[in-house]
């Protein structure tokens, strides 16, 4: 069957060069970097090279500022908890955007159960954080600001440099989660004013099982994982050498290929959105339109009167891999907190689909997606009582209101008066 992969935010295949660089680390170069013999020294050298490759990707002053973790989630946990614990005598207040990744928000919630407090700064309907709102949230107790570079769901590029200037004025470290942008957008930690920044190599053709935390040498950070003295004492545990080596090579290639990756995905992104608008009615793009304020790799769509999991399943049966922020897809039965934070109508959040492009997608694949997706929408609308009610003028469209009928949300909440909450069975 034909396969079209449009979920690069979830995972990317490793590059052949990455795999080739990793392979010796499993076989002859298997040593532990903490060992003092030849095997250890060789592994240590491989780590140093990877650190330099990562530092170059984000313009860090020194490879010593790069720490390897088990993934983007651990990097975020280390940044948030490590900075908070290191600065708890100075203060106990954190300021974060409301649409950060769960690894950031979950770490903040964990700290709130201890002696810390936090302010979540809301975003506008496009998903943008207002730097002035961040400034307004700061207190003399604030010890960390966290605003991500690009939102993983919406693709909105956040004004991190402006937040960085505010952070610098106030002498507060800024943590930038760059897991959705690393390898796809130029990143300069110095120009951004980031004290800490995280990357997820498996999203830019590196392996899984490795994450990166950049930390400016003056930002105080304590370890949250205790044991041996690896990673400058800030992350105990034997380094995942093969994955780290792979991450380094992926970073070096990403840096080299960045302009063409951006140009290629931007072209496909425009083609995809134009195609969808042309072929499908009552569909909305969430987040900024394709252009300078949106990352070139993602599109977040809401298709009205149908639900997202069904869209995902039918796409998959046609060989197309996509993601959704619908409540039906989530294990918690809640819509994505990002879609809730931009104030998206619940029915539109239910009809959500997230597409993320890669360097190997082609125009022809995009056209196949658009054609297939039009059929998927038609099939699901044929099953939807809401589509039928819309045709009759009982329910109105949120995207293009006709003025006839009540809103989907009002209709749904009236129905939910007869609750069908999950009952034990």
């Amino acid at each position: 069957m034909r396969r079209v992969y449009l979920d690069h935010l979830a995972a990317t295949p490793v590059l052949p060069e990455v795999l080739a660089a990793m392979q010796p680390c499993f076989l002859e170069a298997f040593g532990n970097p903490s060992s003092l013999h030849q095997h250890g020294l060789r592994a240590r050298d491989a780590l140093a090279r990877a650190r330099a490759q990562i530092a170059a990707l984000i313009n860090a002053e020194s490879p010593e500022e790069i720490f390897f973790t088990s993934g983007g989630t651990e990097a975020a946990n280390l940044a948030i908890k490590g900075v908070a614990y290191a600065n708890q005598r100075r203060g106990h207040h954190l300021v974060v955007s409301a649409i950060e990744h769960p690894s950031v928000l979950g770490s903040v919630e964990f700290l709130e159960k201890q002696a810390f407090t936090a302010t979540r700064v809301g975003v506008d309907s496009q998903g943008w954080v207002d730097p002035e709102a961040v400034r307004a949230a700061l207190t003399d107790q604030t010890i960390l600001i966290a605003v991500h570079h690009v939102n993983h769901d919406l693709g909105a590029i956040e004004p991190v440099a402006a937040v960085g200037r505010i952070a610098a004025q106030r002498g507060i470290p800024l943590f930038v989660d760059a897991t959705a942008s690393g390898g796809w957008l130029p990143i300069d930690v110095q120009a951004m004013g980031a004290s800490l920044l995280s990357l997820s190599p498996h999203r830019f053709y590196g392996p899984k099982g490795v994450g990166v935390l950049y930390r400016h040498r003056r930002a105080r950070l304590v370890s949250i994982l205790h044991g041996g003295v690896q990673e400058g004492g800030r992350r105990a545990g034997t380094e995942n050498v093969p994955a780290i080596v792979g991450a380094g090579v992926a970073a070096e290639i990403a840096r080299r290929e960045l302009p063409e990756r951006i140009a290629h995905t931007a072209k496909l992104q425009a083609r995809l959105w134009e195609g969808v608008q042309h072929r499908i009615s009552y569909v909305k793009l969430n987040g900024p339109p394709p252009g300078a304020q949106r990352i070139s790799t993602t599109l977040n769509l809401s298709t009205e009167f149908i639900e997202g999991e069904g869209q995902l399943l039918l796409c998959d049966l046609h060989g197309i891999a996509v993601a959704s922020g619908s409540s039906c897809v989530s294990k918690s039965l809640k819509i994505s907190h990002v879609l809730a934070a931009i104030g998206l109508d619940h029915a539109l959040a239910q009809g959500n689909l997230i597409l993320s492009l890669g360097k190997d997608n082609t125009s022809e694949e995009i056209d196949y997606f658009v054609t297939t997706f039009a059929q998927v929408v038609e099939k699901l609308r044929g099953m939807s009582p809401m589509w039928a009610d819309f045709q009759r003028g009982v329910i109105d469209s949120v995207i293009q209101p006709s003025g006839r009928g009540t809103s989907f949300a009002a209709h749904a909440s009236a129905l939910a008066g007869k609750p069908a909450a999950a009952r034990p069975s």
Partner: protein, 143 residues
């Protein structure tokens, strides 16, 4: 020696084959013309909506149809539920349970059990509507 990790299989499905079949080829999709009872319910938990319409003749469900706004398992649950209640008397259908749907579908993931509950509620709402519209039928012995 090679170990088959199963990673390259092409036949993974999120749900079992019966659920997938009912999602892809739903039975009884649509609305019964001149329905005797219509039930529409919404799930507070996730936002799904199910609408079931019935044709009743001589106290027996002659036809049942559904339309569903929801995930694959919600669509499959309503498809299976309508299939199960066709031919039953109104009295029999009143004791319809979501467990029958789960069983007939060969099981649902735990997080999707509420879809079958929604199907049960849609059927009961449709039966309630039928009894309201046909008060004379409510007191009669049915067979």
């Amino acid at each position: 020696m090679r170990f088959d990790t199963g990673l390259m299989s092409d036949s993974y499905t999120l749900y079992n084959q019966t659920v997938m079949d009912h999602f892809l080829n739903p039975r009884n999709l649509g609305e019964v013309p001149d329905a005797d009872g219509v039930g529409e319910v919404g799930a507070a938990a996730c936002g799904d909506i199910m609408k079931i319409s019935l044709k009743v003749k001589d106290g027996r469900i002659e036809d049942a149809r559904f339309k569903t706004f929801g995930c694959g398992s919600a669509i499959a649950s309503s498809s299976m539920a309508t299939e199960l209640i066709k031919g039953r008397t109104v009295a029999e259908a009143m004791s319809f349970s979501n467990q029958e749907v789960i069983q007939a579908l060969g099981g649902l993931p735990p997080v999707k059990i509420h879809c079958s509950v929604l199907a049960e509620e849609a059927i009961k709402a449709a039966l309630e509507d039928y009894r309201k519209r046909h008060p004379e039928a409510a007191g009669q012995p049915e067979r």
